[in-house]
């Protein structure tokens, strides 16, 4: 895993991608810092981080577009997959390299709050919390990008696909406001979710009996809830999508609250997408 991580991190600096990512990130954050803090004589740095979250939409696709697609295109994937390291090592090493580049870039931006600190007042805990949230949300997006780059061998398709997926995550909140909220539609949605989970379990353990049992348990839970507490399904879709929304969870961090459940949420989000990446690579070997 370490070998893959080191190679990947180094390759960001032997190709233009690392420089483009860091350069654009620092440029945009610098512009916003100047406009919102320096020129306004305002010490509210958290606002800057809140505002520049949008740059993930453009920069994460650049960062992750070649992660796995290039390996496939250059056939170096064959070297990795015929070596004794596991697919998980490959995927995690690559994800960690992207996350590290992002982390280094974030460390550089610490100059901004320091500038404020020397010239006025800043709440360190609030800034730290926002940074943690900012880093976690970035890593979640990187995990999505890593997954999408495993689906194609074309970097452009990978970048556009990632952009599309991030955009959907972005407007999730807006989507939730416009979905149906009846009990029936909630029940149907829960059944679809159960089916999806069973499919994922089956592709992981490749044991139809185990997946069958999991499916039956899932159905039992859904129907028990339906017959005992129908109101649960009212607005279930909206609640679920809201719960899934990556951005909503960032709000608590930028409010200066260190929310453990959100940290767990982000880590699970990352884990699920990395797992999907491993599965998508593994599946190709079987098809």
């Amino acid at each position: 895993m370490l070998a893959v991580f080191r190679r990947e991190l180094k390759s960001y600096f032997t190709t233009p991608i690392g420089y483009v990512f860091m350069g654009v990130f620092l440029l945009i954050s610098g512009i916003f810092f100047s406009l919102m803090n320096l020129l306004q004589n305002d010490g509210n740095y958290v606002n800057v981080l809140n505002t520049i979250v949008f740059i993930f939409l453009f920069l994460v696709p650049i960062l992750t577009m070649r992660t796995l697609s290039e390996e496939k295109k250059n056939k170096t994937e064959q070297l990795l997959l015929t070596s004794p390291i596991s697919i998980w090592d490959i995927v995690f090493g690559k994800f960690l390299a992207s996350a590290t580049l992002f982390f280094i870039t974030l460390v550089i931006t610490l100059i901004y709050p320091l500038i404020i600190k020397f010239n006025g007042y800043i709440a360190p805990s609030e800034v730290l919390c926002t940074y943690i949230g900012f880093f976690l949300i970035g890593c979640s997006f990187i995990a999505v990008g890593t997954f999408i780059s495993s689906l194609t061998e074309n970097q452009i398709s990978s970048a556009i696909g990632t952009f599309g997926a991030l955009l959907i995550l972005w407007i999730m909140e807006w989507i939730t406001q416009n979905v149906q909220s009846g009990i029936k539609s909630g029940l149907i949605f829960a059944l679809i979710l159960t089916a999806l989970i069973v499919i994922i379990i089956n592709s992981t353990v490749k044991n139809p009996y185990f997946s069958g049992v999991a499916g039956i348990i899932g159905l039992l839970i859904v129907f028990t809830v339906y017959f005992t507490k129908k109101s649960f399904f009212e607005g279930f879709i909206a609640n679920f999508l809201n719960w899934m929304s990556v951005l909503t969870r960032f709000d608590s961090f930028s409010g200066g609250v260190f929310d453990v459940s959100s940290v767990v949420y982000y880590l699970s989000f990352i884990f699920v997408f990395l797992l999907l990446t491993v599965k998508s690579i593994d599946k190709k070997r079987w098809s």
Binding site: A3, S11, N74, T82, S83, R285
Partner: protein, 320 residues
């Protein structure tokens, strides 16, 4: 060492290989021969664990490739049809990276890499970026990569494709030398290459194994009889005399000899004898006794080309 059992791979509706069975013993250099698209690369990709078979299994040293994939992969060095090179790395960095992912003994790293660099003769490009190397050197780096971790088995997919004649000879010699203490499985669609390097051949066509054996075995397999071509200073009466030699099945005159090869007062004939019977001495003695000088005596041999064309069902194309 390598055992392929009933390997079948199906892509959608296309059957790439079907019931492929073979065994390769320790220390053998085996050639895997077949026309383009016959299923060579698919088979190699399955043996190396890059792909999984739709049916069947692969055993390396008695271990199943899927169940013990990590242990098995340590035993195999693989050069795919396109060398898996990172263009943004130098040769040294690249081999270092491969050494790490092959989980070889870290303490011996520098020595092992230097040995490999010496074996494949890439010392002078060690610090150059791979993207700036010529195709021949890239192929060498590809072979070097397969040697990392000192694997017992080397699997090489078309190792000389796209190289110039000098490079081809160099790579062949390299394969011979590194194959001295390893098991090598080498695919190619070029016969001369396989014949130059391998001591056993497996021929695949349209996804199925159609023949297997040493070049000698393959020859005798398709030769029903031995044929001796003669140019004798004689008239046709010699034919009757030749037919009296024990073991001779048939004697025929060659009419289609090239114009410039026809000599006055001579006769070109082919003597066909039973399989495994050497009649050359008897023919010589008979001609001497009858005072019919033999000007030329050549044993007609089937070359691998004939074998290949015959087993892949393309004889018609050759005669056309």
């Amino acid at each position: 060492m390598i055992k392929a059992l009933n390997l079948t791979k199906i892509y959608g509706k296309h059957v790439a290989i079907k019931n492929v069975n073979f065994q390769i013993d320790k220390g053998e250099i085996v050639g895997f021969l077949g026309p383009n698209g016959a299923g060579k690369t698919t088979t190699l990709n399955i043996i190396t664990g890059y792909m999984s078979p739709s049916q069947g299994s692969v055993e390396i040293d008695g271990l199943d490739i899927i169940e013990n994939s990590s242990a098995v992969k340590k035993k195999i060095g693989y050069l795919p049809d396109v060398p898996p090179l990172y263009m943004d790395m130098t040769v040294g960095e690249y081999l270092d990276f491969v050494y790490n992912i092959k989980k070889a003994d870290i303490s011996a790293k520098e020595k092992a890499i230097n040995e490999i660099i010496e074996t494949v003769k890439i010392g002078d490009v060690k610090n150059r970026l791979i993207k700036n190397l010529s195709k021949g050197y890239r192929q060498r780096v590809g072979i070097a990569q397969a040697l990392v971790g000192n694997p017992e088995i080397l699997i090489l997919d078309e190792p000389t494709s796209g190289l110039d004649p000098v490079q081809i000879i160099e790579i062949r010699n390299l394969i011979k030398s590194i194959g001295e203490n390893r098991t090598v499985f080498l695919s190619s669609h070029i016969l001369s290459e396989i014949e130059a390097v391998c001591n056993r051949i497996i021929i695949i066509n349209k996804g199925e194994i159609v023949a297997s054996g040493t070049p000698l075995e393959l020859r005798s397999h398709i030769e029903g009889s031995r044929k001796l071509q003669l140019k004798v200073k004689s008239d046709k009466s010699i034919i009757d005399d030749l037919l009296k030699i024990s073991g001779v099945k048939n004697v025929s005159i060659i009419n289609n000899a090239k114009q410039e090869e026809i000599e006055i007062d001579t006769i070109d004939i082919v003597v066909e004898s039973e399989k495994g019977k050497d009649i050359r001495e008897d023919v010589f003695m008979l001609a001497a006794e009858k005072r019919r000088p033999i000007l030329m005596m050549v044993e007609q041999k089937f070359d691998l080309e004939d074998i290949f064309l015959q087993v892949t069902g393309k004889e018609e194309n050759k005669t056309n």
